[in-house]
């Protein structure tokens, strides 16, 4: 029964849309969040200015990520294209925090 279900799911035309929606909404948010954190600690200005600059950019980053997730060729590409920079930026943000550098 579950194999039948999986087969159905794999050929369901809405699958691509559903996956892209998930990637866009949650992946896009994760990307924007990690970008905001990384920019906040790495921008070479006063911390408050860095935070505001990062927050000004965050919603634009999110928007572009959502648009990209729906415009790229396949859901797999959308997933990889959002996950990779998210992980990179998460690493940068973690490195940038003062207590982690030591």
């Amino acid at each position: 029964m579950s194999r039948l279900f999986l087969q159905r799911l794999a050929t369901w035309p809405g699958l691509g849309v559903a996956l892209r929606t998930l990637i866009a909404v949650f992946g896009g948010y994760a990307l924007a969040a990690c970008a905001t954190a990384a920019l906040s600690v790495w921008l070479p200005t006063a911390p408050a200015t860095a935070v505001i600059t990062a927050n000004l950019l965050s919603f634009l980053i999110y928007t572009v990520a959502v648009l990209w997730a729906f415009s790229t060729r396949s859901a797999a590409r959308a997933c990889a294209g959002i996950m990779a920079p998210t992980l990179l930026l998460a690493g940068l943000a973690w490195l940038g925090r003062a207590e982690n550098l030591l």
Binding site: R20, P47, A48, L56, S58, Y62, V66, L67, F70
Partner: protein
């Protein structure tokens, strides 16, 4: 998805728009009204209409506060201005905070600015109810509602950008209007309202997200500061630790000279006076003028202020100082101040109101386009359940909400003034009217439904000034209404809007051959092309980029 960027963006635009369109419509309508939140609140409190500001108002308020709360922890006094003819007094009693009382609001009173009498307006949430509904709805836990509203805002930002990408000929389309052509006309009016105010739409969505950035995107603050947003705010708005102990009893200095000194220093009328520890020897008086000098200046502490010693009246500090505001903060302040129209004089406020109406029209025409297109594809067949549902919800969220608004205003005049529960009953009338409209729209999700609701809201809005005439003495034929511009303005706007709804009604009644609803003669087509050629169906589905 496979068919290239424009098609995928068109798909995204259509479905993200439909999914949250109804919520966005409610947010646009209530948000537009919030540009005149204070004017609406004033209109809904007829007991305040006869107050007339005078040069003695600060001294009268001073006396009233001394009388009401001589031993308070702090006073906060808002003087009358162009938007409100009364003085608002607030004070924080000097009692230890209850352990779990949450935010302490203190006490407040409204004073007649001419006589110094305390007024007791009828209980009403006024414009604040609509303002709050705009971003936290009603009856839903605040945090959930705010997240929902922000998700809708994010969808709109995506819909705006994908809508722009969808349009290859955005400016040519803007000058194209093909009236009386059903779906084409809806597409053109959707384009026109969207493009005309595109900078406004982008500003209002983007700044809406920025206003809630602490809730939505706290990760930057958490990464850069040990204690997150608290650390950030302490850094940006360093707050002097207020003296937490009352000093020895002392007499406050006279307020009038401080007011005239502040007005002379900034060449603007004084708007607000606050006092820490009144009638104590450590009293501090802050006298603030009308508004921040520039739209890019900070929100908090932006108003030019002189700080005085409360007992001898010596100048302690001039705010804001002359420290430079970094560029990123200027951008942030610009967007937030534009969203809230903090800086706006009545003309600019009116312009923002028009843009808000334009945004409402943009969302509404988009939703109507969705229905119109799918109705046209039916070619005269009866619409299915989903289409009827969408059409019904469109009716309820547009004309239904406008009717509920009028009912809310009417309830303010009709409910008994002294009634204990009148404040919450005004709001109940609003929701009952909306629910009634929803029921009606779901029963008649078609042209008849639109006609009946448009007729109802035309009558309701036109009757508001009449109701005002019958129940108050600050109506359109009184001097009071014209002295306080907000009151005459409210009634005039009601009449204008009633005219707009009436015009829409007339158009719907006239254009019965175009909408494609009901048994209408369609353009003659060879019967087999529908049945045999699936491409014609697909062609119809992708015609019209924006849908």
């Amino acid at each position: 998805m496979k068919a290239g960027l424009r098609q995928s963006m068109a798909w995204l635009h259509t479905w993200s728009g439909l999914l949250l369109g109804w919520l966005l419509l409610a947010m646009f309508v209530t948000g537009t009204s919030a540009y005149f939140r204070e004017e609406i609140s004033l209109w809904m409190a007829p007991e305040l209409h006869h107050s007339e500001p005078s040069p003695e108002t600060p001294a009268l308020a001073w006396a009233a506060l001394n009388d009401k709360a001589p031993d308070a922890k702090s006073w906060d006094l808002r003087l009358p201005d162009a938007r409100s003819p009364v003085a608002e007094l607030r004070w924080q009693p000097n009692t230890p905070a209850a352990p779990d009382s949450g935010r302490r609001r203190g006490e407040q009173a409204v004073m007649d600015a001419g006589t110094g009498d305390l007024l007791s307006p009828r209980a009403s949430r006024g414009g604040d109810f609509l303002y709050r509904f705009h971003f936290e709805l009603y009856g839903v836990p605040r945090i959930w509602a705010r997240w929902l509203v922000c998700v809708a805002t994010m969808f709109m930002l995506v819909a705006i950008i994908s809508g722009v990408i969808t349009h290859k000929k955005i400016f040519k389309d803007f000058f194209t209007f093909r009236p009386g052509k059903g779906q084409r006309s809806w597409l053109d009016s959707h384009n026109a309202t969207a493009v005309l105010a595109l900078p406004f739409h982008f500003m209002i969505t983007y700044s809406g997200l920025l206003i809630f950035m602490v809730m939505l995107m706290p990760w930057g603050m958490n990464a850069a500061y040990q204690d997150g947003w608290r650390g950030f705010f302490q850094d940006v708005f360093p707050r002097d630790e207020a003296t937490s102990e009352a000093g020895a009893p002392a007499t406050l200095t006279d307020i009038a000279p401080l007011v005239s000194r502040t007005e002379a220093a900034f060449e603007q009328p004084v708007r607000r006076i606050s006092v820490d520890w009144p009638n104590r020897d450590n009293a501090v008086i802050r006298v603030s003028t009308d508004k921040a000098p520039a739209v890019t200046d900070r929100r908090r502490g932006g108003n030019p202020t002189l700080v005085f010693n409360g007992t001898d009246g010596t100048l302690l500090e001039r705010q804001p100082g002359d420290e430079a505001i970094p560029g990123a903060f200027r951008v942030y302040n610009l967007f937030v101040n534009l969203h809230l129209a903090r800086f706006a004089d009545p003309m600019v406020r009116g312009l923002f109101f028009l843009f808000g109406l334009g945004g409402t029209a943009m969302v509404a025409t988009g939703m109507l386009l969705w229905v119109s297109k799918r109705t046209q594809q039916l070619r005269g067949k009866a619409p299915g359940g989903a289409l009827r549902l969408v059409n019904g919800l469109n009716i309820a969220s547009l004309t239904g909400l406008l009717g509920a608004l009028a009912a809310y205003f009417a309830a303010n005049r009709l409910l008994p003034v002294e009634w204990a529960g009148r404040e919450s009953w005004e709001i109940r009338v609003f929701f009952l009217a909306w629910l009634l409209a929803l029921g009606h729209a779901l029963l008649r999700p078609n042209r008849r439904g639109w006609i009946e609701q448009l007729a109802a809201i035309t009558v309701l809005w036109a009757s508001l000034p009449v109701l005002n005439l019958a129940t108050t003495d600050s109506h359109l034929f009184s001097a009071t209404a014209w002295r306080v511009g907000a009151l005459a303005g409210f009634d005039v706007v009601c009449l204008i809007l009633a005219g707009v709804w009436g015009y829409a009604l007339w158009r719907v009644v006239q254009r019965r051959t175009i909408r494609g609803q009901g048994p209408l003669p369609q353009r003659p087509r060879p019967q087999q092309s529908m049945a045999q050629d699936p491409r014609s169906q697909r062609g119809a589905r992708t015609a019209g980029d924006g849908a």
